[in-house]
Symmetry: none
Subunit: 207 residues, 4 copies
Amino acid sequence: MNSRSPGSQLADTGRGNEAAILNAALAAFGAQGFNGASMREVAKGAGTSLSNLYNYFPSKSHLLAEVLRHVNAELEARLRRAVGEAGDDAASRLREAVRAYVGFVVDEQLAMLVSTAEVRYLRGEDRERLVAARDRTQSIFTEIVEQGAASGEFRTPYPLDAARAILTMISSVATWYRPDGRLSRGQLSEQHARYALALLEGPLPHR
Amino acid sequence: MNSRSPGSQLADTGRGNEAAILNAALAAFGAQGFNGASMREVAKGAGTSLSNLYNYFPSKSHLLAEVLRHVNAELEARLRRAVGEAGDDAASRLREAVRAYVGFVVDEQLAMLVSTAEVRYLRGEDRERLVAARDRTQSIFTEIVEQGAASGEFRTPYPLDAARAILTMISSVATWYRPDGRLSRGQLSEQHARYALALLEGPLPHR
Amino acid sequence: MNSRSPGSQLADTGRGNEAAILNAALAAFGAQGFNGASMREVAKGAGTSLSNLYNYFPSKSHLLAEVLRHVNAELEARLRRAVGEAGDDAASRLREAVRAYVGFVVDEQLAMLVSTAEVRYLRGEDRERLVAARDRTQSIFTEIVEQGAASGEFRTPYPLDAARAILTMISSVATWYRPDGRLSRGQLSEQHARYALALLEGPLPHR
Amino acid sequence: MNSRSPGSQLADTGRGNEAAILNAALAAFGAQGFNGASMREVAKGAGTSLSNLYNYFPSKSHLLAEVLRHVNAELEARLRRAVGEAGDDAASRLREAVRAYVGFVVDEQLAMLVSTAEVRYLRGEDRERLVAARDRTQSIFTEIVEQGAASGEFRTPYPLDAARAILTMISSVATWYRPDGRLSRGQLSEQHARYALALLEGPLPHR
DNA sequence: TATGAATGAGGGTTCATTCAT
DNA sequence: GATGAATGAACCCTCATTCAT
């Protein structure tokens, strides 16, 4: 055992059934997509009645928004923790950020998938709020990359574009990763740390 | 004008309304997602009646399958053409393949988005057939990568994993590319060709 | 038998189920009120499926709007016919108009009730259209009243207000009339013709 | 200030929230109709919780019944007071009754509207009780009319039917009256007093 | 009294699909 | 091929009401 939270579980939030509903929604949206999932399924998954869902979330859209908000919050927390404990140079900070991100993708694969695939169904304010929150999360990476570009550690001509490429590369691991597959969590982290440094044209560790 | 096909248009297929329906389906699935789009929308977009759709495709699922099949076929054709016209070394073949792929993503952004986001709604044989077709398409890249790894041009310790990373990196360009954005089609091609070589730890062109 | 149309039937309108649906809606709205009636009831009453209703009317509100439009159209037609066949002086024109209106209320009691009670549930353009149509219908009365006021046949100091009072008085007959009650159709017509002349302070027939 | 109660307020009844609930119900039923209004709205309007409503009224139907009972009680009280202070002859008693009724309609327009429109949603004993109470209220008018018919003051051939016509005429003022409209409270009273005498074919005041 | 959480029934509406023409 | 009408299932959501506290 380790200290990581169990796969694809949103933290308890105090109110009776809220966490159960959020988790059931995550599972349902993950399995069927936002439009393919029904509130009845969510209710069944959460062990409550359909109508009670609406005592917690005013609409299916809002429920999706809350799911995505929680997922991003957890990701951001993990990233900040990891970067906070890293060294000072951009290369090691990047390495830790990548490891934490890959770890999140592996631990919370379903959350990551839903997070990527279902944002598009958010509209209006909910969407804007989430986009803003994600920008804050991604800025953890872009700041490191800018630091490394400024210090000369990263020599790529396109630091910000490369940063984006790194992020999508890592998050898309969720689309194919299998816990019983050829690559372990650790191997994936090493690989992607190396990919990231390679893309940024930074100092690759010797093989 | 150039010789590229117009954006997000599936080729005519001979049967009266077939192309119109496929294109309308692509547009509808792109705008609303597979489950969010309705056959009525598709019919309206194709300028025909709802029931006439079923003279061409036996079900909504099948319609999706056909859309995805056409998109992959077009992508594969473009890739094979590009690689066929390239040199013999892995680096230049890779460069041309990447350029062609990026070009496709840019030209057929919507097709690429749908292709990525909606495969999950295929089931059964339709799904298997498409997965097989995609594997054939992706093998264009993996063969080049294996060739380069064997020849020593690419020194990455993880050639096949890096190939997958390259593919997802390129296809995800569709999620953010804007025709009027900062990066032109050509710049994107150059960037990604460089990313690919960097990831494979091959010979980077001088800046 | 007489030539009056059967009670509470909206005329056939050509399209297959349309008349049946309108009549079923009239019955349902009459029995339960607009909000108390369900589209399922209407469908059952019309002998069709719930979903088929929406092939004829895009929403429950629209269905109500159409019901009310038809009712008013029928009333207006009857009034114009009656007035057209009357003499030239205001008193006899009024008498015929009142008789026709009372006749309509008695023949189409349910239609009249729904017409009065459920307008309030119309919103937006539907409401405005109906209000305009009703104004046109009521102007049949107000014009007669103005004619009689100008000619000196009606001596009331408030001709237009009295006209309104007459109209509400007649239409509210629908709230208590019973076909098997003490007052026959003919008696009601006579009474209300006399009420109208009395209210307008015109020439009362001798008793 | 005068001695009339404020518009559309049901009197306090002693129990904590009862008056607030009755008034909120009156407002909600007036705005949306009985079936269109929800107990949640009523609770919100009364400033209490949804479930607390059921400590005062056992059901929505009962709540409606109580609202209507209060409205009728207030109307009856006003009418009896007015008639009690009038002279002895039928014409002046009628005049005072009409004035009081018109005054009530104007002062308590919403209450009158609800009273007229929503009775139909009462069933069973609640309905019977209300009908009986209304009959008692209306008998104030019918008794005056019978007195005047007997004494020869009113010469109409249909005294009781005319009485009913008068009542509906007055109560329907609520459907169009606007406080800022052309007709003042006083003018309306005068008009309707005259209408009533005209309908009954009694002695009209000189103009 | 007063509350918040809970629920089963039912609301209007849309869906993919079928079928007679 | 092409259509318009039709349908049953399912959708999201709201309802009046209950109950433990």
